[in-house]
Symmetry: C2
Subunit: 153 residues, 2 copies
């Protein structure tokens, strides 16, 4: 399950991506308001994303956050890993949060592990091939469909 932190991070990045190349930085407070995220919580999240090289920031008047990377290069799996933790079902198949299974007497004979690996790979396949840019595009398309539908009434 995605944590709120991860969800907030993704939403904030989408907001920042919509401004990419068009305007200056966005203030935390602005993002928090438009995306309905608790300001203080968002501060911590954005800071973390900055520490991981995804965002840049500027202090003082007209300051704020901005994307350092192209939205096309910011992929969901990284955002989830930075903010939420593991994608895998069990720690012993996690690439970034690996831990030996306590329960497994022998990791090799753990049949569940094989299945968990499959699930991880399938999830990762999707999450590492979807970027923030993709989400922005998807949003636009979905909005259009919605308008069409309502005008048909």
């Amino acid at each position: 399950m995605l944590t709120k932190k991860s969800k907030y991070a993704i939403k904030a990045l989408v907001a920042l991506a919509r401004h990419y190349e068009t305007e200056g930085p966005l203030r935390i407070a602005e993002i928090a308001e438009s995306e309905k995220i608790p300001t203080k919580f968002l501060e911590a999240i954005l800071l973390e994303l900055r520490k991981h090289g995804i965002l840049g920031s500027k202090k003082g008047v007209n300051g704020g956050y901005y994307l350092l990377k192209d939205p096309k290069d910011v992929v969901l799996s990284s955002v989830i890993r930075i903010t939420g933790g593991p994608i895998a079902l069990i720690p012993c198949v996690s690439l970034n949060f690996y831990e030996r299974c306590e329960e497994c007497t022998n990791e090799v004979t753990c049949a569940l592990r094989e299945i968990a690996l499959k699930v991880r790979d399938a999830s990762l396949e999707i999450l590492s091939n979807t970027s923030i840019w993709d989400l922005v595009q998807r949003e636009k398309k979905l909005a259009k469909v919605k308008i069409k539908k309502s005008s048909k009434k």
Copy 2:
């Protein structure tokens, strides 16, 4: 992430499946010991599986739990749902634990939702096509591989 409860449930079912059609019921205490699961915790888990029609039980001397269904028909996705909860990344795409997204002003335009759906479907594809029987078979194969390897030394 799988909860311990789900993991324990799967391990217990695998243990029960190994006895399927060969012997009488297995006592909670036996399973708990062989699978290294806290007894009291396991009690609650097995009870839940019984209430969902997967296990049957017998009280008194020589009592215990036994599989009501064929291990081939007990699929990982059901076990996880019964014991651990949702498989989906976010509640608004969960088949069994659906909840409207608080954050999404409009569910339809939630781009994340589409991705979460994909991930859910991919995970479900694997988990609903893997049965307890499959795990038992996998275990056996893995054990053979291990023996071969060690005899090569």
